[in-house]
Amino acid sequence: MRGRRKNYASRRSEGLAGYVFLSPWLIGLMTITAFPMLLSLYLSFTNYDVLSSWEFVEWVGFDNYKKIFTADPTFWQSVRVTLTFGLIAIPLKLAASLGVALLLNRERRGVGLFRGMFYLPSLLGGSVALALVWVAMFNGEGAFNAGLSLFGIEGNNWINDPDWALATLMVLTIWQFGAPMVIFLAGLKQVPTELYEAAQVDGASKRRQFFHITLPMLSPVIFFNLLLETINGFQGFTSAFVISNGTGGPLGSTKLYTLHIYDKAFTDFQMGYASALAWIFLAAIGLITIVFFSTGKFWVHYSDGEN
């Protein structure tokens, strides 16, 4: 009895010590994340314009939210662009990363080099420099068209054509598939080889092995990558901003939701309105995440649970 109490007490003081060690992170979370977030939630119900002093900040209730849904055509345009972007680019990026991971999973000479090469574009991240390279590649006289002209094809003015500008952005995003690829590779290494051996004994084809062993065994990793890439993908900003010179053009074809938030906050100085846009965005991404988690149980297979 006595020993147990002592144990409890020491556990409590250990817990306290834990919080003390956590405190740098906790304080950071509070001041750098939680406080600004709550402030922006408050601001989304005001007419805050960045520049005026605080005494001019007025509570406007749900006006910003009402205006977004009823009187802001650019909002709907940016939702359309963002959804198109997400629904096409994210699945293709995952497919590309899984495909390349499968190819690079075999132990061959020089496979490390190839893994490095395929990962390289991701190291450059959403950088400005890379976006500028994209402009140079995909404008009317770009390298891409120069390549096409070798085959006698006259290329489009890709980034300046409203029908193609978003597609070039998607290609840029998909091309940076290195991060999910590495995670897939790690996942593939975890699949027990006995399963494949057993399947081979049973005479299962490679295709069947892929669909009945690889995919189910990999499903937690797929789920993880899907979640991460969705959240990242929808938050993309830099490349669209740089490639369109901040316009989201031509004709609003690359006006991602984040660009609309930026415009409202820093061009129109409607920071309250922009905060409301940001919170709608947060809610939407949260909703998508919930949908993923609730449908996950139907297709994500956790083998650990059966041990």
């Binding site: 960045v50 520049l51 002093s53 009317g140 300046n160 010179n245 031509p250 004709l251 415009d263 061009t267």
Partner: protein, 454 residues
């Protein structure tokens, strides 16, 4: 820090100017402190502390002034040199300059100005001026132009007026600048076509441009399509005796805008301007992507002070003339302005620095025509005489040629303009890409204007 000082420092700050004897004593004391500062570092610290608390009372008290502008490396060098000249004459003033490229400048300015902490002096242009002045970020400089602490007597009147909003002098122009078309002299020479002239009508210019396109025979056009450019529209309106803004409202009619869009639909049909996707490359106005630089068109719609910079981006020889239409539509326009923060702790020093930058001949010679022609006509004369860059000389010659033809200056664009000019850009493109009729586009613009200027 030293509890005795705040009380005594606050008092004179409230009755500044009324206690000369007290001020004199302090000055002596501070000089003494400054003298011993070399030997006793702590004394220097004390002097610095004291200075921040009583900037208004003593013109020689140490003052720190933050200073923010956008531009390239070359401009930074010139500006820092001019500021150094000021601080060498006023050793009590410390200026902390910060600068960056134009991209992102306004984001940064807005962020640091949030909550009333704008830099003491900052560069701004007419697109942003009303946004900042209208939200009470800027210091009203009327007092200083009134008592000649900022002397504008030798500045063109319209240039001074273009820094006024709601009866206040909210900013002082850094220099005079004029919209100008820049053309490829070499290419036009090769084609054997005359160069455009001041006073050509838009019809003449478009016919001329169609001729360039025909003669060039290929992927080369006569003229950039300026339909999405608010300054081109503004000058087109003014040449007809109309205006863009009337106070915080749009001054032209929907029919005017339809006519403007139609003008460029017809120009494109005649082959005078390139297709929309080519124009879109140059739509943000940055020098590097202009069609004259990328050799896709003979004419770009620019600013007169950009000639020198643009010449550095191409091997072909460039020339410059006025936008089409009656030059009375033009006015002495501020290339950028110096504005001050309303919350600055040293408004007198800030005003003195601005005055120095725009009126001092030595400072003017250092700054050159980088931010447009110097405001002060004496400085302008001195600076133009000393120029060596041929294209800068051309800019001065152009300004001198066109200045007598200027019309009266309008007020700077109102609050909401920076968003609205983007609306015009995007809406004009719906016409040039063939997605909307001029009528539908004009209607769209007016509906967006109603909410942007509200």
């Amino acid at each position: 820090m030293h509890p005795a000082t705040p009380a005594s420092a606050d008092e004179p700050a409230q009755h500044h100017g009324s206690l000369p004897a007290d001020g004199l004593n302090r000055r002596h004391l501070l000089r003494l402190l400054a003298g011993t500062a070399i030997a006793v570092p702590a004394a220097g610290l004390l002097a610095a502390c004291g200075g921040e608390e009583e900037p208004k009372t003593d013109p020689n008290a140490p003052v720190t002034v933050s200073f923010f502008w956008w531009g390239g490396e070359a401009r930074a060098k010139l500006t820092e040199e001019a500021l150094k000249l000021y601080t060498s004459k006023h050793p009590n003033v410390t200026i902390t300059p910060t600068w960056q490229a134009f991209t992102g400048y306004y984001d940064k300015l807005a962020t640091i100005s949030a909550g009333g902490n704008a830099p003491d002096i900052f560069q701004i242009d007419d697109n942003g001026l009303a946004e900042y002045a209208g939200r009470n970020v800027t210091l009203d400089l009327s007092k200083y132009t009134g008592n000649k602490k900022i002397d504008v007597s030798k500045h063109p009147e319209s240039l001074t007026k273009y820094g006024q909003l709601g009866g206040k002098q909210v900013a002082i122009a850094t220099g005079e600048n004029t919209p100008a078309i820049i053309y490829d002299k070499t290419k036009l020479g090769e084609l054997g076509i005359e160069v455009p002239q001041v006073g050509w009508t838009y019809e003449q210019t478009i016919t001329w441009a169609a001729g360039v396109t025909t003669k060039a025979g290929g992927k080369y056009w006569g003229l950039m399509d300026p339909s999405s450019d608010y300054k081109a529209l503004w000058l087109w309106l003014r040449a007809q005796g109309k205006e863009f803004y009337d106070g915080p409202k749009i001054a032209f009619s929907e029919a005017d805008l339809v006519a403007w869009f139609q003008l460029w639909v017809d120009a494109r049909a005649k082959g005078a301007t390139p297709p929309a996707d080519v124009c879109h490359e140059a739509v943000t106005g940055s020098v590097a992507t202009q069609l004259v630089v990328t050799k896709k068109a003979a004419v770009s719609f620019m600013w007169s002070n950009q000639l020198s910079e643009m010449q550095k981006a191409t091997k072909n020889d460039l020339g410059m003339t006025a936008y089409p239409g009656d030059p009375k539509g033009q006015w002495a326009r501020a290339s950028t302005y110096w504005a001050a923060s309303r919350t600055t702790k040293a408004p007198d020093v800030v005003a003195d620095i601005i005055n120095f930058l725009v009126n001092d001949v030595e400072a003017g010679k250092i700054l050159g025509v980088d931010r447009g022609l110097p405001n002060n006509l004496d400085v302008r004369k001195a600076v133009s005489d000393g120029l060596t860059d041929q294209k800068m000389k051309d800019t001065v010659a152009f300004e001198n040629e066109i200045t007598p033809k200027f019309g009266p200056a309008p007020a700077p664009p109102p609050k909401g303009h920076s968003g609205l000019r983007n609306s015009l850009r995007d809406i004009a493109e719906t016409v040039s890409y063939g997605k909307a009729t001029p009528e539908a586009a004009a209607k769209q613009f007016f509906s967006e204007a109603a909410s942007a200027l509200a």
